[in-house]
Subunit: 338 residues, 2 copies
């Protein structure tokens, strides 16, 4: 049985998350029972939602238990099978967690999904053609419900969710405007991801300044906003929202690592009759097949060219995750394990 | 022709609204043209939305023009008619403004509506069976969409909108919890308006304290919230919202008279997957007949017993309005003109 390096949640963050919240251990993978498969993980997904689950607080998901393997999405390959449903060599997506191997009961529906790596690279199933992509799809089509010609804005535009949002918005005939951190990300958003414009929030010291820049990038105002970050960026976009605008709230990463970050102008929700809705995509499994179909078609046709930041080796997971919370990644953050 | 005392908006508020923003003038009512009627106003409605229109800012309605009669709802009687549609003595509701008389073109649809004062007192058509009542109805049925057994909270519970909300919520089998300012208002909400509980926000110095009191009044959490005030009260309720809660934003009076009041915990919109929607009832005229029918039935059957604060004489309008913005009214604020 192979050795399996794993990261456990050792203790909960006090304010900012730190590397010592995690603990690396090595175990033996157990012998398979009938109906089980052993998956070797090629890629581990790192996502902002994991930060919320590190707290022992009311959240949209149960807290990550202490002393257990950090939960998370994985893309890998079946290396041993005692199930007729999977063969050695099958490429699979699951929730294997921060470890090199996982043993999965193949009888449980939906815990392991075979994927086709001829059209779409394996790691993309953790990003553009996975949970982040479906997240963008849900917020766009079910909450923002755009009409062709409308102007849509997304924060963290070059991230896994934001990149997919841009391609999906363009496919619906909308003007897509991104917000990202730094000139390199903004250039990439326009040159490679198809955004009509992208603003660098780091060039602006406050919401008023960013809002003025948004006015130029969105001359007809903002009809829909996909919120990944909260804080100053959200304030700035709200100042530019049109009447009957829609805001899909997917993340507020600005407030994850400490104190809540207030919304400065809530009265705009009233004066502009805005609909704002928070959501978590795992509660809407019914849309996944339709969303994944569109996303994989966009990738296969080259209309969605997602970027990845790839950390090498299981040992790099904590630092890569902490960097993600600070926006140090550029595109989807994954850890390559082999 | 009778003399007509009118209040004009003389200048716009700098921060807090003050009496000198208004100017009293006396004019002659003009001779009627064919198709016109002269209405003598018995009651003038004072409503928080008027404060927003005093600013020269982007708002949900065009700003109140300077030098013109303050706009507002009126209940009165036709005293002269050159229209076959109205007879002298007809009781009518319209948007006559802050003045004693108005001349109305009776050919325009919807500007003047005859009302039945045998079941419902005339002034109630400015409150429970008028715009504020329909406002409560719309937010409740179209945004909060309550199920029997759910817990619903409304701020400014003894105001015109809040009282109607309480009766409508009880009629749908919900637990109705009010928030109001002062023990007298809270007692009235429970004893006369049918609320299951009412909390006095003035007893609480911050959102945490009010939120703790709400926990007792709402042991199963809050499923729907009708927002009239914003600020600390909104923060406190948001801390108690259940997953998939709905917030109808009708007013944020806390921020009307000066600086915007922030929302402290916007991340709760995400973690609790809340839907929040701002609205203005005049954009949803299609619901008025159905809403007014239910509201007048509730009044006629004694299930909705709205309270009024009645200021006497047109001259009292500015002070009564400024008092309304500070919560000095108790129930619907009207000015009796005769």
């Amino acid at each position: 049985m192979p050795q399996n390096k794993q990261f456990l949640l050792d203790n909960r963050p006090q304010g900012e998350a730190v590397a010592s919240n995690f603990k690396l251990v090595t175990t033996e993978t157990p012998a398979l029972q009938e109906g089980e498969v052993l998956v070797r993980h090629h890629f581990l997904s790192l996502d902002p939602y994991m930060r919320g689950r590190m707290n022992d607080a009311k959240n949209y998901a149960a807290p990550q238990p202490l002393g257990q393997v950090m939960q998370g999405g994985t893309a890998g390959e079946v290396v041993e099978s005692r199930s007729p449903k999977y063969q050695v060599g099958d490429k699979v997506i699951g929730m294997g967690g921060w470890q090199q191997y996982s043993v999965v009961n193949a009888e449980q529906r939906g815990v392991l999904n075979k994927v086709d790596t001829t059209r779409v690279p394996l790691s993309y199933y953790l990003g553009a053609v996975g949970m982040p992509g479906v997240t963008a799809w849900y917020g766009l089509t079910k909450i923002i419900e755009p009409k062709a010609g409308e102007t849509l804005v997304v924060s963290a535009a070059t991230g896994a969710v934001g990149s997919a949002f841009g391609a999906l918005a363009k496919a619906r005939g909308c003007r897509a405007v991104g917000i990202a951190g730094g000139p390199e990300k903004c250039k990439y958003a326009v040159d490679e991801l198809g955004f009509d414009a992208c603003l660098d929030y780091k060039q602006h010291k406050d919401a008023g300044s960013l809002s003025a820049a948004l006015k130029e990038a969105c001359p007809d105002g903002v009809d829909g906003y996909f919120e990944n970050v909260g804080g100053m960026v959200m304030d700035a976009v709200m100042l530019r929202m049109n009447a009957f605008g829609r805001i899909a709230v997917c993340g507020m990463i600005a407030g994850y690592n400490g104190k809540p970050v207030p919304m400065s102008y809530p009265q705009l929700l009233l004066t502009n009759r805005i609909k704002l809705q928070g959501f978590i995509v795992s509660e809407h499994m019914e849309v996944w097949p339709e969303a994944l179909k569109e996303l994989s078609d966009l990738v296969a046709s080259g209309k969605l060219r997602p970027r990845e930041t790839i950390a090498q080796g299981i040992e790099s997971a904590p630092e890569a995750f902490l960097g993600l919370l600070k926006g140090r990644n550029f595109g989807k953050q994954v850890v390559k394990l082999i």
